[in-house]
């Protein structure tokens, strides 16, 4: 567990110094939202209930990019192999990388939520606690699967194009639950049961897939 | 392998040719709970169903036919390479 924390700190330190992944990911996320705005806003009126979908699509697209480049850096510096050679428990390596990605995506979401709320006239911040819970659960699920696939793809050919090919079909429940949960928060009358259902689904997804990722990371990285 | 391929290909083609006239010769006519069988279609049920039906069956036959062809072609290629390589190895081990 301490090792995971150390890995997280290492990634954050490198990131804070160079800012490459953070700034480019954030920019991409904002650009994404802008593209949606230009595509979907007609005569100054955004589509009804579009905000939830747009928020999540931006998060997933930006996340895909961030995942690819987070591991690209590892590949170039061969740090991943070094980490795996170290007498460290594999799960810790995975968890450290996962936490790094989650922190990065959380930073993006902090920026995106007000932006989407503003541009699409959606009252996203009406129920901040529920929103935070859904975003946290969904981002963790997405990042869990993404971190595993990105780590496994590090030595593969065509890795840039393969990551979205693998990631998006598997994270379909995340986007469905995330968007539907967020959209439920945008309704004038909050129906807590619906939000709770989607949140529960996301948490179950996280539990199952973080566990599966830990096991698979172990099985795949030993060769 | 070629014998098998020809056999299966012929069977598929025969199925395709046999099914089209059999289906075309058929006399033409929101949430279902169970299927209710009847022997005669009411007169208002009409032809537009037949093209869909024929398209569906043809598609199925064509997909399986093409897949079998693709698979047997890949198999013959690899088999040929295996035989060739096996022969070369035998020669080099003899010499």
């Amino acid at each position: 567990m301490r090792l995971a924390w150390l890995i997280l700190r290492k990634d954050l330190t490198v990131e804070v110094r160079s800012g490459e992944i953070a700034y480019t990911t954030l920019f991409f996320a904002v650009a994404c939202v802008l593209i949606f705005a230009f595509a979907l806003v007609r005569e100054g009126k955004p589509p009804e209930d579009g905000a939830a979908g747009i928020l999540w699509i931006a998060v997933m697209l930006a996340g895909n990019l961030a995942l690819g480049r987070a591991f690209e850096r590892e590949r170039q510096a061969e740090t991943l192999r070094a980490l795996l050679l170290a007498p460290a428990p594999r799960p810790a390596v995975y968890l450290g990388k996962l936490l790094g990605i989650v922190v990065l995506l959380a930073a993006a979401e902090v920026l995106l939520v007000p932006l989407v709320a503003l541009l699409f006239q959606a009252r996203l911040l009406a129920h901040p606690i529920w929103l935070t819970a859904i975003l946290a659960a969904g981002t963790t699920g997405f990042a869990a699967v993404g971190t595993l696939f990105a780590a496994m793809l590090v030595r593969a050919r065509s890795r840039d194009v393969l990551l979205p090919v693998l990631l998006y079909p598997i994270t379909v429940p995340v986007i469905i639950a995330g968007v539907r949960g967020t959209a439920a928060l945008l309704q004038p009358e909050l129906e807590v049961d619906i939000v709770r259902f989607w949140l529960a689904l996301l948490i179950a997804f996280d539990a199952v897939f973080v566990t599966l990722s830990l096991w698979t990371f172990e099985a795949v990285m030993t060769d | 392998m070629p014998a098998l391929k020809r056999l299966v290909a012929a069977a598929m083609l025969a199925a395709l040719c046999a099914s089209v006239p059999a289906l075309a010769a058929q006399n033409p006519p929101p949430k279902v709970e169970e299927y209710v069988p009847i022997s005669q279609l009411p007169p208002e049920d009409q032809l537009p169903a037949a093209p869909l039906l024929i398209a569906a069956y043809s598609f199925v036959m064509i997909v399986f036919f093409l897949y079998v062809v693709s698979l047997s072609r890949r198999l013959t290629n690899v088999q040929r390479d295996v035989d060739r390589l096996g022969a070369t190895l035998k020669q080099t081990s003899k010499s």
Binding site: V145, L212 | A11, M12, Y35, L71, R74
Partner: protein
């Protein structure tokens, strides 16, 4: 190829040739009429699609646990089966739906889940083809995730109303419709086994070829 293969292939071919006649002898369904006959091909191929997914998932887990390449070969073959039978299911379904539901595609739980799982199978094949060396374990991981995801996909997509006929239809089928259905199920199941065996054979031969190349390098 083993001896049973050729005999089984003949039986399978005969069954498929016979199937349109067997189906034609079935009664019409009263509300859906002629187009419902697509059911006799759509449903068995859907079942084989499901079976392929399960075989791929189980084989992948065993490969991850043991590293035995035989499981990997079976998993790859099963994934290809899933794509083929999936395509058949996903095309015959909308053709049927166009007439009976009025539209080609409806975002209900079963159709959408099938589409998503079919894409996972397709992604598996893309990965095997373009992933380069070492993609076997990665693909096994993908298959494992795809299988584990089934329940989640189904539940999450179930938010939308489903207008699929409930599966309870099958046991209640009268004999004139039940017999053609089970006949077609047998045909498709036999076809599935034959194609799977053939596809696994392809992988076995590829592995033989690889080892031959290696022996050649050693012999030099």
């Amino acid at each position: 190829m083993p001896k049973w293969f050729f005999r089984a292939a003949i039986v399978c071919g005969v069954m498929f040739v016979a199937s349109p006649f067997v189906i034609a002898s079935a009664d019409y369904e009263s509300t859906m009429g002629l187009v419902q006959k697509i059911f006799y091909y759509h449903m068995p191929s859907a079942w084989m699609f499901l079976t392929s997914g399960i075989v791929c998932g189980v084989a992948s887990v065993r490969f991850l646990m043991t590293g035995d390449p035989r499981h990997d070969r079976l998993a790859w073959a099963a994934a290809e089966m899933a794509v083929v039978f999936g395509v058949v299911t996903l095309v015959t379904g909308p053709l049927w739906a166009r007439k009976s539901w009025g539209t080609f595609w409806i975002w209900d739980a079963r159709t959408t889940s099938s589409l998503v799982q079919w894409m996972v199978a397709w992604a598996y094949l893309i990965l095997r083809r373009y992933g380069g060396p070492g993609s076997e374990k990665l693909a096994a991981g993908l298959a494992l995730f795809g299988t584990a995801n089934t329940a989640f996909i189904y539940v999450s997509v179930n938010y939308w109303r489903t207008i699929h006929p409930p599966t309870s239809v099958v046991p209640k089928l009268p004999f004139t419709m039940g017999f053609p259905l089970w006949f077609c199920v047998a045909s498709f199941a036999l076809l599935f086994v034959l194609l799977l065996r053939m596809r696994v054979r392809l992988e076995e031969q590829r592995a033989t070829l690889d080892s031959l190349y290696l022996s050649m390098d050693d012999a030099r």
